[in-house]
Symmetry: C2
Subunit: 217 residues, 2 copies
DNA sequence: ACCTGAACACCGTTCAAGT
DNA sequence: ACCTGAACACCGTTCAAGT
């Protein structure tokens, strides 16, 4: 699992630089930022990027895997502190906010959850997946809520994940952090909204959704 | 609104050919089919495509405007034949199925509804929009259902549109009609599912969603 | 008035040559 | 073992030349 032999010092440094540049680029230009551009920002050759991250998806996974695991771990904390139904709602809010903040994560989950066609699945063993921790987390919370009689028993964990994913995608685009002074359209980020507004909308939508998923007494 | 002067015969013919080729290409290759390819299929020069459809979005709008209007008109029929709540559900099912069948329509609605970043809004007067008929249709059905006491009054028509759009996006990719024998991955359309399965899932999800949106008596 | 297709810019991806 | 960067293929877009 871990590297058999530690990476050469320059390789490790390049890897870090690439990841940092990628975070910047995706934040500023959204998904589909130019890979060539990322390599240049990082000050490495294009080939080096491909050596470390053979696909765009691999790069996204590396960027977000820490954050994904952190979100997955929150499930355990919430499950301890809150009743099962509330824990599920709270966790889904956090997941949705994560997807709104990290544009790339949406594409990842998209292909991981069977949602869309962006960020094509890697060729090969399609099964192992960076979103596995999320799947496990939602399975646990959904199971708890069902056993507690707070959630319909005719929906599965994947249904819940898919629905929240869809809702988050439908919530709109929050205006990104460091938007570079693009020479493009005037009027600034047309159509984008204040991050808080989008976040609030997400919570409303997750609430409505949960209303439908709640077990009827 | 209508053409001031009728198009020259060859122009009209090319336009038809381009639309037919586009329908084929989008069905076979999904969104983001090559525009150059579409021009070649249609047997016209690349410049001709741009003359008729300056942006990818313009092409998609022209392709789907008939279908969009047909769906919008269904709202009136359903409103006459069914109680307000049932009419809304039935119409949302049809809209969702439309979005699943027409991959391009999802991207259109995405940008139209403030959902995603695909299919960038056309520069210029962003207000007029091919999805206006859908907006009007949903506004009518939502209003009816609210007046009939069958729908919460704290949600707006756009909320409903966004939610159903999100749910449809989350439903997964139906396997397309005429999938050309691509030399790509083995195993056929990996991850795509039988159209009926996706359609059934959509109906389930719309049902769950409506459960949350229903007015509590 | 409209069409053609060569030309240009840009991006992803590969690979021979370097250290 | 890893990096570089030129080279290639592909796609969107424009525009001078044609009819």
């Amino acid at each position: 699992m871990a590297q058999v032999r530690p990476m050469r010092a320059d390789a490790r440094r390049n890897r870090e630089r690439l990841l940092a540049a990628a975070v910047e680029a995706f934040a500023a230009q959204g998904e589909g930022a130019s890979l060539d551009d990322i390599a240049k920002r990082a000050g490495v050759g294009a080939g080096t990027l491909y050596r470390h991250f053979p696909t765009r998806r691999a790069l996204l996974e590396a960027m977000y895997s820490d954050r994904i695991e952190a979100i997955a771990e929150r499930a355990g904390e919430l499950a301890e502190r809150l009743p099962a139904g509330a824990a599920l709602v709270a966790w889904l809010d956090e997941l949705g906010l994560g997807m709104i903040q990290m544009r790339g994560l949406r594409a990842l989950l998209s292909s991981s959850v069977g949602g869309g066609e962006e960020a094509g699945r890697g060729a090969g063993g399609a099964s192992s997946d960076c979103c596995d921790p999320l799947r496990q987390a939602v399975a646990r919370l959904v199971g708890d809520a069902q056993r507690a009689g707070e959630l319909r028993r005719d929906v599965g964990a994947m249904d819940v994940l898919r629905l929240v994913h869809g809702v988050a995608m439908a919530c709109g685009e929050a205006v990104g952090g460091t938007s570079v002074g693009d020479a493009g359209d005037a009027e600034g980020a047309e159509g984008a909204e204040r991050a808080e507004d989008v976040g609030e909308r997400l919570r409303r939508y997750v609430g409505l959704l949960m209303e439908g998923l709640r077990a009827r007494g």
